[in-house]
């Protein structure tokens, strides 16, 4: 892990999927068929553990045999105070600021089982390049997230597409679990994502926060 730099945050990182309308539309009728049965009721969450955390400029070595990874660029909401049972109307008061996250994952079509092998390889959660104070930025629903592969824009999305905008997401998550100061909640990773592989220089960018750069490397021979 010597080629990973340190991220600007220290806490637990929680990710969310199926929190954007295009992903729910893409799942379509599958949401009501086995193994899912019915559309998700609560936020669909996962954890990116400490070994995945990395900063901008990191060289991330992909798992053995992995040709491609998906690039889940999204907003990282950084907590500034312990947050339990937040109210939607005042939830943003618990937020210290925002950063950029690039949730790297082995491609995986299913959202039935927790994606530990897919999402928890070393360096699979670059965060950065900095945390920008909440009040220096506007409504997170107005943010645009761009993904770049070798300098070219591979995806661009507006966070106006969130099913649960950040305050609602914070309220629904902290209904049953406390987020601590320094913890990071990712606002939602889409299902339809660009991919990249060894040798690619990838980046995630949000205007007003900055650009998070990562180089992907293959496993050692």
């Amino acid at each position: 892990m010597e080629s990973l730099t340190r991220p600007p945050v220290q806490g637990t990182v929680y990710g969310t999927v199926l929190n954007d309308r295009p992903s729910l539309e893409r799942m379509g009728a599958a949401l009501t068929r086995p193994p899912y049965g019915k559309p998700p009721q609560a936020p669909v969450l996962y954890i990116k553990p400490w070994n995945t955390h990395a900063g901008t400029g990191s060289r991330v070595r992909l798992p053995k045999g992995a040709g491609r990874v998906t690039l889940g660029a999204t907003l990282g909401v950084v907590l500034g105070a312990p947050a339990t049972r937040l109210e939607e109307a005042t939830a943003l008061r618990a937020v210290a600021g925002y950063t950029v996250a690039l949730d790297l994952s082995l491609p995986c079509a299913s959202v039935y089982r927790p994606p530990v092998r897919e999402k928890c390889f070393d360096g699979a959660c670059p965060l950065g390049p900095r945390v920008v104070e909440r009040d220096a930025l506007g409504d997170p629903s107005s943010f645009t997230v761009r993904t770049l592969v070798n300098g070219r824009v591979a995806a661009e999305r507006s966070l106006s597409d969130l099913v649960r905008p950040v305050p609602r997401l914070l309220a629904d998550v902290t209904e049953f679990m406390t987020l601590e100061a320094g913890d990071v909640l990712l606002a939602g990773v889409a299902l339809d994502l660009p991919q990249a592989g060894p040798g690619d220089e990838v980046a995630a960018e949000i205007d007003g926060i900055g650009r998070l750069d990562v180089i992907l490397e293959g496993d050692l021979p």
Partner: protein, 253 residues
């Protein structure tokens, strides 16, 4: 040797004991002897990554009408859910089924990557007992078991002691059981794990780095019953410890 963290008279103490001492009694570093109920027990480790295993006992997989998995079913838990011995755990109001899960918890002692099975025990610091509560009303088929079922505040008691690996000569040969209000409701044996401790360490470390303070909750055997406010739930593992928890009424949700 075994170690615990307790709060007593306004300070946090790291205490040690020996396996031969009666469970519960403890000695502070300055020599004071205290009873189990005189201190507040904290989790014996401040965990980093917490792994939990689903369906890792064949009898439990059958109980839930699942066939045994071919690869370990692993999910992760956050620090918010971990509490110590003699804690109170809330049952949300209005739910129909909340159950305990008695599990052997393996605490990793050093940085570990690509550990072969035959060397897996070298990276273990010790063992403790976990009670991995689940509120099944909230089960959904997205990243199942989802965090609302398994990662609620205060729903994973851990402790009382971290017992040194050297004092648990064969972690795959331990009896487990759970008592609710003194009645045995769950009995099992670690030899019945589908994926044993060395296999779990080898598997996890094959795709990610493990480190000191990471904890693996190794799954639970059959025998799960609903627990209600006021119930005392004791999860115990032979030679590792006896972890007491009391269910209390929660608020909505």
């Amino acid at each position: 040797m075994k170690r615990a963290r307790v709060a007593f008279e306004g300070a946090i103490h790291h205490v040690t004991g020996h396996a031969t001492e009666q469970n519960g009694g403890l000695r502070l570093a300055d020599g004071r002897l205290l009873g189990e109920e005189e201190v507040v027990w904290l989790p014996p480790v401040a965990p980093r990554t917490v792994f939990a295993l689903g369906l890792n006992y064949a009898d439990h997989a059958r109980e839930l009408a699942f066939k045994a998995p071919e690869t370990p079913l692993v999910f992760l838990k956050g620090p918010n859910t971990i509490v110590g011995h003699r804690a109170r755990t809330r049952r949300p109001d209005g739910v129909a089924f909340m159950h305990y899960e008695c599990e052997l918890a393996v605490v990793i002692g050093r940085t570990a990557r690509d550990v072969p099975k035959e060397r897996a025990y070298e990276v273990v610091a010790g063992y403790t007992v976990a009670n991995d509560y689940a509120v099944r009303d909230y089960l959904e088929n997205y990243y199942r078991p989802n965090l609302r079922v398994k990662n609620r505040d205060g729903c994973t008691p851990l402790g009382p002691w971290l017992v040194d690996a050297a004092d648990v000569p064969d972690p795959m040969n331990l009896r487990l059981r759970t008592l609710v209000n003194g009645r045995v409701t769950q009995e099992g044996h670690t030899r019945d794990m589908i994926f044993d401790v060395p296999t779990l360490i080898a598997t996890l470390s094959s795709f990610m780095t493990l480190g000191p303070g990471d904890v693996i909750l190794t799954g639970t055997p059959e025998g799960l019953v609903d627990v209600r406010p006021g119930d005392e739930v004791v999860t115990e593992i032979e030679g590792v410890g006896r972890l007491v928890n009391t269910i209390t009424a929660g608020q909505q949700p």
